[in-house]
């Protein structure tokens, strides 16, 4: 195990890592930007170095400065947290070239899974289901129709050079397909100067379900069950929970086993997440791998009783996982609500500023992870999440009731937060029934098609 590590991150995840290190007896070196100077959580680190001005590109994203701090701080390893440099394989390589362990997978695995096409190909070879599609470019109408009939309508036409929804069309039958194909081509040509398009099965009202993984350097690749993260707004997760409600046991097991097959094939190590979408018929399709610890990891910690950050340090330092797959028992229901400094009444616009007063919920089954406190100023330069409220109860109904009472207790004054918006979601019958899909929030609560 390490004696001294550096945390290349800020805010709640930096504090989360500091907490784990204090419990493990690992000394911590924190880095911070001018905007985070004086934050209380920095004082829980053994050392803290300013590495640049507020702008991320000049501080938290500046590899040479982070490495330099690691050398000055004389650490054995760097934990990147999530975001910033967490999935930057170059940084990953630089760390190792400086004889500093990177708390995460090897750069090769990171690169392999970071490339969507390579990851998709690897998934196929590990016989993990992926969203069916044309594979290559669609040359003409007849081919489009053939492929569409093969994978089944409705289909999605995507520009190969695409992005931002441009050159994207949904087609429900042969006729609309032909029209859509031309429109998509034209739009793609105009937008990217490249009319190349391909076909993919269009999954209606998908649910986002992901599998938490942990792997050591001795070939043990284990899953810690799934999380349902379908409650999203603009692809930003708002609420995560485990287990995924209304997911058939066989689907759940098949999904978790697929995730294990994939990461074994990728020689993956450390913590990671395999993301799937699940359609209304409970077919699941591989989407991507997040090669890092995730914001929502506490949900899994509550239901499995395993501290994932501690586990990351253990496997990174070469230890074998102290448990086997059969030791990982899923207990009860955990739900997490992300508390963001955003104003739900103003289209969730970020709302940085000074927190005048704060009352943190407590009691049985409640966990609150946050670096914020009364007197803390939320800087405008970084993402707006200021805390994560997590509950753990025997049943989903109890978990929802516990979360509602905890949200009532949470008081953050001086800035707007998403706390009360979560109550709207939790009180909605669709959520209570466990049938939320990724479009639910915008469709139902924000009245956006």
């Amino acid at each position: 195990m390490y004696n001294r590590i550096l945390i290349a991150n800020r805010g709640e995840i930096a504090l989360r890592i500091i907490r784990a290190c204090r419990e493990l007896g690992i000394e911590t070196v924190a880095v911070f930007s001018e905007a985070d100077r004086g934050s209380a959580y920095l004082e829980l680190a053994d050392e803290a170095y300013c590495i640049g001005p507020a702008k991320s590109s000049q501080s938290y994203l500046k590899i040479d400065q982070v490495i330099s701090a690691a050398e000055v701080g004389n650490v054995e390893a760097i934990h990147p947290g999530y975001g910033f440099l967490a999935e930057n394989s170059h940084f990953n390589e630089v760390c190792r070239s400086c004889n500093i362990d990177f708390i995460g997978p090897l750069p090769e695995a990171m690169d392999m899974l970071g490339d969507k096409n390579k990851a998709r190909a690897m998934a196929r070879s590990a016989n993990v289901p992926v969203v069916p599609g044309s594979g290559g470019l669609i040359e003409d109408e007849s081919e489009a129709v053939r492929v569409a009939r093969e994978i089944g309508f409705p289909v999605l036409i995507k520009a190969t050079a695409g992005g931002g929804g441009k050159g994207m069309r949904v087609a429900a039958n042969d006729l609309t397909l032909k029209v859509a194909l031309q429109q998509a081509r034209a739009e793609a040509q105009a937008a990217f100067g490249n009319a190349g398009v391909y076909l993919e099965k269009y999954v209606e009202r998908p649910r986002h379900v992901e599998v938490q993984m942990i792997a050591d350097q001795h070939g043990n690749v284990l899953h810690l069950w799934e999380r349902d993260c379908s409650t999203q707004r603009r692809h930003q997760k708002l609420i995560e929970e485990s287990p995924a409600p209304n997911l058939p046991e066989e689907t759940r097991n098949a999904m978790c086993e697929s995730a294990v097959r994939l990461l074994k094939k990728a020689n993956y190590t450390n913590a990671g997440t395999v993301e799937f979408i699940v359609d209304q018929e409970n077919n699941f399709y591989f989407i991507e791998v997040n090669a890092r610890i995730q914001v929502e990891h506490p949900v899994t910690e509550m239901v499995t009783g395993i501290d994932l950050i501690k586990a990351q340090f253990a496997v990174a330092s070469g230890q074998a996982l102290p448990f086997s797959q059969s030791d990982i028992v899923h207990r009860g229901v955990a739900i997490e609500c992300r508390i963001n400094a955003e104003n739900p009444d103003r289209n969730f616009q970020p709302c940085p500023g000074r927190i005048e007063k704060m009352f943190v919920p407590g009691g049985y089954g409640v966990r609150f992870d946050s670096h914020a406190h009364a007197g803390y100023t939320v800087p405008p330069h970084y993402d707006s999440m200021i805390g994560k409220l997590i509950v753990h109860q025997p049943t989903r109904a109890e978990a929802i009731a516990c979360m509602l009472r905890a949200l009532d207790e949470l008081r953050i004054e001086g800035i707007a937060t998403t706390a009360l918006f979560h109550k709207k979601v939790l009180n909605h019958s669709t959520f209570a029934d466990g049938w939320v899909d990724t479009g639910f929030v915008e469709r139902t609560l924000l009245n956006k098609p």
């Binding site: 880095v31 001018e34 004086g38 050392e47 640049g52 400086c98």
Partner: protein, 167 residues
Amino acid sequence: MSSSEPGSGEVFDVERILRLVELMKDHDLSEIDLRQSDQRIRLRRGDLDAPRFVAQPAMQAMPAPAAPAAPAASSAAPAPAAEGANIYTMKSPMVGTFYLKPNPNAANFVKVGDRVQKDTTVVCVIEAMKVFNEIPAEVSGEVVAVLADNEEPVEFGKPLFKIDTSK
């Protein structure tokens, strides 16, 4: 004392301020704000900052970065702090190890009293990632203070030199 005595000097009457402060403390006032035409006395006390961890025996947080409990804003500007009219404080542009001399046996690049030329005179070296970065003076003038020790680890924004630009 002169609380009722007129005259522009009274705002600065320390005796009275002292009494006002006592009064605030005795009666748990959080703010006093007195104005009259162009005169104003405003006193605030109490709870404006973050919980302090420094008293914690179990922690040895680096005083420099961690100590200030003031809102980040107050210390966020890396801009050179002017002191007096013509004293320029040159700060570290990066985190790394600070060297005052090119090699252990050599003399210091600069010492107090030396004149330095903007962008030309090398005043120190900061090593980051095995790279020795020669740091030239940011202004022309006379070195009036060296604020870091040889081989000291420095962070971004750490004051290194004071340079008198009037000389």
